[in-house]
């Protein structure tokens, strides 16, 4: 049997079926970075330059929060779930409090629902900008990265002004939000939104004309929608395949029934369409924030918070910047949850991202994996097995980034 046959046989063993895992398991390298929330480990199997199989291994940042929530009361739990993610911290606390509220008969004041919308949309803008900057970074377009992260500061400043914190906002609470908006906040929001909307137009022009971005993203990460939808992806990844699904319109929460989002879709299902889609979403978020701040009703922002929550099972979800964020809460009538189950959007998207990588080159790995908008700790370590040459080596994120940029310099 020639080497090639052996390699093929090995490959067939590993990659038959939709997703097949090698039985021997993987050696963990501990790609935990204190600054990132979801480190992951991908075992990538190559044939020459081509990726034939991707095997993810997650759990490096698993802290047992679901178990810890069972020992905390309802109010303490809000602040713990917020710490799951630094980028979409408000989405987590919002999803949790909404799920808990659905167990009670509590009425949420209309002003609080509007404020929730404003913060959720500001968070979406900052998360999408952060992601867009990272695409610039991974494609070797560092200027774009610096520009965008500077603009993102404007949104963080607004969030700090309203909630008091840039990252962990501690703003949502059961029955509403913890504090009212500061006086004359629209004087700060309106110029910032005007500035951002001009910048977004400028970035749209760049990503549709700049050669580096076009080469590195157009047609990269294409996946057949029929295959991918069976893997149950969520958020922009699903919408870029042409499925018009968004929790904000499918199951309106906060004030989304009054200020209706314009859900954008694309049919290209590649990384370039994700860029355009997320920029469109930023524009729509800017519109919604401005609309909400002009039409916000007056009144209370919260009512008295009950100590105990009635018995029952509740499910709730919100559209976090990365997609549907799901919470399940079981209460037995006490002052603590009996079980809280959290399903984050990245967990739902990992399988689709591995499918997106197949058939592309190793140089595309950073861009495609960033395309699904994980927290990019997943890039910390990779094991690469080259089936043709039987080599096995490990590289870290920075080396892979350089490899990608150099590969494109040489080959395109």
């Amino acid at each position: 049997m020639s080497d090639k046959d052996q390699a093929e046989e090995k490959l067939a063993k590993i990659s038959t079926g939709l997703i097949q895992y090698s039985p021997e398991g993987l050696v963990p390298f501990g790609p935990v970075h204190p600054a990132l929330k979801e480190p992951e480990y991908f075992k990538i199997i190559l044939e020459g330059e081509k990726i034939v199989q991707v095997i993810p291994r997650i759990g490096y940042a698993h802290r047992g929060i679901e178990r810890a929530l069972q020992d905390r009361n309802w109010i303490q739990a809000i602040y713990l779930v917020e710490r799951i993610c630094g980028i979409c911290s408000f989405s987590h606390s919002l999803a949790f409090v909404q799920t808990v509220e659905s167990l009670t008969e509590l009425e949420i004041p209309r002003r609080a629902r509007y404020i929730r919308l404003i913060i959720a949309e500001l968070e979406r803008i900052h998360s999408h900008l952060l992601w867009l900057g990272l695409v610039g970074y991974w494609t070797g377009f560092d200027t774009l990265f610096m520009w965008i992260w500077r603009d993102r500061e404007r949104v963080l400043d607004l969030i700090e002004l309203i909630t008091g914190n840039r990252v962990h906002k501690s703003y949502a609470t059961i029955t509403g939000v913890r504090r009212d908006l500061p006086e004359n906040i629209e004087r700060h929001i309106q110029p910032a939104m005007k500035y951002l909307s001009d910048r977004v137009k400028f970035y749209k022009e760049i990503i549709n004309s700049e050669a580096t971005i076009l080469i590195r993203t157009k047609g990269i990460g294409w996946v057949s929608p029929d295959v991918a939808v069976r893997l149950c992806p969520v958020g922009p990844l699903l919408r870029c395949m042409g499925f018009k699904r968004d929790v904000r319109t499918d199951d309106p929460y906060a004030a989304y029934d009054e200020i209706v989002p314009d859900v954008k879709t694309s049919t290209d299902s590649d990384v370039h369409s994700l860029l355009n889609l997320r920029l469109d979403e930023i524009e729509d978020s800017i519109r919604m924030v401005l609309e909400a701040i002009t039409s916000i009703p007056t009144g209370q922002v919260k009512s008295s918070i009950p100590r105990a929550i009635p018995r029952g099972d509740a499910m709730g979800h919100v559209e976090a910047p990365r997609g549907e964020l799901f919470y399940f809460v079981r209460s037995e009538g006490g002052n603590k949850p009996v079980r809280v189950k959290i399903r984050t959007p990245t967990l739902a998207n990992i399988l689709t991202a591995t499918e997106m990588l197949k058939g592309h080159t190793l140089a595309d790995v950073p861009v495609v994996l960033t395309g699904m908008d994980p927290c990019f700790g997943c890039m910390d370590r990779l094991t690469i097995i080259d089936i043709g040459e039987g080599k096995r080596w490990q590289i870290n994120g920075e080396e892979l980034r350089r490899y990608g940029i150099e590969w494109y310099n040489k080959n395109r």
């Binding site: 079926g17 939709l18 997703i19 097949q20 895992y21 398991g25 050696v27 963990p28 291994r57 997650i58 759990g59 698993h62 047992g64 679901e66 178990r67 810890a68 020992d71 659905s102 939808v229 069976r230 893997l231 149950c232 992806p233 699904r245 499918d250 199951d251 099972d313 499910m315 979800h317 549907e324 799901f326 399940f328 079981r330 009996v338 079980r339 189950k341 399903r343 967990l347 739902a348 990992i350 399988l351």
Partner: protein, 149 residues
């Protein structure tokens, strides 16, 4: 949501309130019920799978989402027989969710290729202690054992 189609599911406890539908079924029927939901009712999206330790039994809830409703299949397994058929061939997206329940509660899903491996737990998790979300073990005990080894 077509209620008529739901009524085709015989001998099942179906409970609908607000935007959630709870379908209680025995573990043996889980594949038939989920196939019915996917094929006959046109539900495409599996949101999550939750496992709950209820003392003597482990409750598994499959949360599907369709047109404004959570459709939940609820099934309960005795702790002495924690085995159930996998639905990964019906819904490929269930792969990681089933593996998570396996990792956290020790339920074995027949047909899921990830069984026997860890998804979220470290590979050094001691084999002779129960999975972390089970009531038989406390976080303190897990910490003590993990530090010892």
């Amino acid at each position: 949501m077509s209620e008529d189609k739901l009524n085709e599911l015989h001998n099942l406890k179906i409970n609908k309130e607000k935007n959630k539908i709870m379908i209680e079924t025995s573990p043996a029927d889980i594949r038939d019920v989920s196939r019915f939901i996917i094929e006959k009712m046109g539900v495409k999206h599996l949101t999550a799978i939750t496992g709950i330790d209820e003392g003597e039994k482990i409750c598994i809830i499959y949360h599907f989402w369709s047109e404004g409703n959570f459709i939940n299949i609820v099934t309960r397994l005795l702790k002495t027989e924690l085995k159930i058929e996998s639905i990964t061939d019906i819904v490929p997206g269930a792969l990681l969710y089933e593996a998570e329940v396996h990792d956290m509660l020790g339920v074995f899903f027949h047909g899921n290729p990830l069984m026997g491996t860890h998804l979220l737990l470290p590979d050094t998790y001691p084999e002779d202690i129960p999975p972390p979300l089970r009531k038989e073990i406390t976080p303190e005990e897990i910490r003590r054992r993990m530090l010892l080894e």
